[in-house]
Symmetry: C2
Subunit: 148 residues, 2 copies
DNA sequence: TAATTACATTTGTATATACAATTATTGTAA
DNA sequence: TTACAATAATTGTATATACAAATGTAATTA
């Protein structure tokens, strides 16, 4: 991926600006790949993300603020995102018996099964976008990203 | 930035998955920083991006498909994005005299002046998010990102 | 205990984005 | 020259997202 070629500029930019643009380009490529991988399942990346969090609860339900806290990219409307998962039968929602302000969200059997399929598709997509990287490269990249 | 701490997971994931999530987290941090830096100017990141492209044309107008080609993150509706720039007086739009299908977009004087201010704000924001990086780090990061 | 504050979620609204369909213009081939 | 295809932009529609305001519940305090 050559930044200058992609955004078609001849002007040279600072290494700082180039880094930011570079990351943005990579992210947009990744997003596209992941979104495509999830298309057959009719879920967005965010919805997939929430399903993974719910599974990570190991049977325990999660309330909305917990979900929001753990999402990779925060979005200000978890209610409506969960609505979509309910409609698809991937999640359940009930009022918390001990604190009626809270809502308990859990993943359904159907959600579990579909998530397993999604995982496979995502793994394939990951492998595809990371094909140019050695294990060493990935370690280095993660180390550098930690500096953010 | 510690991925596991941010998304609050104990489960360990493959280096591949970790990399993808890591990049997504970084991007979301960068987006927030850049969007905040632009808030005083009442432009979105995409609008800023288009203004930069228009300036890069050095007086030559750009048509919509050119803009779309050069945008960092493609979005399917450049018409409406440019509408916003017109409303703010940052850009002009006229029909191309040689090919009436095309629309010529150019940056106004006001656009130029505001863009100069935005540049300053963006430079500050960049420096802030990249504070943990040496020049060497940035070079290495760019080299790794090229592998995408 | 009544009033106030804090918490958790939902709703409203404006804007952003993705994608498909439509309009207008130009180019080309029968 | 008419018909058809290609190009360029716009519009419509559904969904996504950001942010503020509203709702309902629980905890605190005067």
């Amino acid at each position: 991926m050559n930044v200058e070629k992609i955004i078609k500029t001849k002007k040279e930019m600072s290494i700082e600006t180039r880094t930011i643009i570079h990351l943005s380009l990579v992210n947009s490529k990744l997003n596209e790949a992941m979104t495509n991988a999830l298309k057959p399942f009719d879920v967005s990346l965010q919805q997939f993300n929430v399903l993974r969090i719910l599974r990570g609860q190991n049977g325990l339900p999660a309330n909305l603020s917990t979900l929001n806290e753990r999402m990779v990219t925060k979005m200000s409307n978890t209610t409506r995102l969960v609505d979509k998962l309910l409609l698809k039968g991937f999640a359940n929602r009930k009022i918390c018996p001990t604190n009626r302000r809270k809502i308990e969200i859990s993943i359904t059997q159907k959600g579990h099964e579909s998530l397993k399929e999604m995982d496979k598709a995502m793994e394939l997509a990951e492998a595809e976008v990371l094909v140019g990287f050695t294990h060493q490269d990935l370690e280095e990249l993660n180390t550098l990203l930690d500096k953010f």
